[in-house]
């Protein structure tokens, strides 16, 4: 997030805005300490029902969408600067090799530079056909998963935890590509659990597929 503040400070006088959206089904208070610490001057919004994921067909965090002055999507949802290097880290020490750390930072830098170039020159904005082709399709299963997710979060929030858990698990089964759904289903009482052994097992099962698909810049 400090990088987004830097980006915003640098580009705000050029008609640029950053909207950061916290996907927090557990409630706004989970996002609060981060937001208060960040002291951002761009918008920090809280999405306790994951509405943005529903509207834009998102599957993980962080994902970004680029929207131009006319309100048109010029880059559909894509990974916002994160990479898969974490998959190779030493789980005991939770550290990456210096090479991986350097590559990871370089990839993040390249993505931020792409945002800069877009604001300054319009570069990287996709023509309509390419933008359309890059959109992930909403299937009937995904639509059902979203409705179950909505109901599950409501049930959890209103004290009907066990039933809410079942709805979230069903949602995750219907939409297995959504890491966000899986993590909300796996996690609630313990944050650590969502990145515990089950998480790593599921990440390993991806094989050659990416956890954070790199943006095609």
């Amino acid at each position: 997030m400090p990088v987004w503040q830097t980006l915003y400070d640098e580009l705000k006088d050029k008609g640029f805005m950053v909207v950061a959206v916290a996907e927090e089904s557990r409630g706004a208070d989970h996002a609060r300490p981060w937001i208060e610490q960040a002291k951002s001057s761009y918008w920090q919004l809280v999405d306790t029902e994951h509405r943005l994921e529903d509207l834009y067909n998102l599957v993980n965090v962080p994902q970004a969408i680029w929207i131009d002055e006319q309100g048109r999507i010029v880059r559909p949802p894509e990974t916002a600067g994160s990479t898969d290097h974490f998959r190779r880290m030493d789980l005991k020490t939770r550290t990456m090799t210096p090479e991986d750390q350097a590559e990871r930072l370089a990839a993040r830098q390249a993505y931020l530079d792409a945002v800069r170039a877009w604001v300054n020159t319009g570069k990287h904005a996709l023509p309509a056909d390419a933008a359309r082709a890059a959109l992930p399709k909403v299937t009937l299963e995904i639509a059902e998963a979203r409705a179950r997710f909505r109901l599950g979060v409501w049930l959890r929030t209103n004290g009907r935890t066990a039933e809410g858990d079942r709805q979230l698990a069903a949602a995750s089964r219907l939409h297995p590509e959504s890491w966000s759904m899986w993590r909300q289903a796996a996690d609630l009482d313990e944050v650590g659990k969502a990145s515990g052994p089950d998480f790593w097992k599921r990440v390993q099962a991806l094989g050659d597929r990416a956890y954070y698909p790199p943006p095609k810049l």
Partner: protein, 129 residues
């Protein structure tokens, strides 16, 4: 009372036998109006099967299913989620006009994407989990 969750709102309505309710409540929840030709919104009307209309009451579950939207009930059938139809989402995204949304900041002030028209906007998600 039956609670209905739509993608952006939450309603309490008097319903029976699932989601049978007065046409006025159906309109409040779905934005569609019962007319002789069916359920209508703007210029568009969707014919309703005779089995889903009785006098001035309609079966919203049947109507929503006909629209292609998911209808999910809690075990006690007191809370229902009406999800957005997949095709509605796809059509909106393929039009490339960024779907508007309104979400609160941490102080509860609502903010809408549409307030930022005229600027380039970088929308990015994150989470504490």
């Amino acid at each position: 009372m039956t609670r209905i969750l739509t993608p952006t709102d939450e309603y309490e309505v008097k319903a029976h036998d699932g989601l049978w309710m007065a046409a006025a409540d159906a309109e409040r929840v779905t934005g569609w109006t019962l007319k002789p030709e069916g359920m209508c919104r703007d210029e568009l009307c969707v014919p309703m099967p005779a089995s889903a209309v009785k006098g001035s009451e309609i079966d919203v579950a049947a109507f929503w299913t006909k629209l292609g939207g998911p209808v999910i009930a809690s075990e006690a059938r007191d809370v229902w989620a009406l999800g957005a139809p997949a095709e509605e989402r796809n059509t909106a995204l393929e039009g490339l006009q960024a779907p508007d949304f309104t979400l609160p900041d941490i102080d509860g002030t609502p903010r809408s994407l549409s307030q930022l028209r005229g600027r380039k906007v970088f929308v990015a998600t994150w989470a504490s989990w």
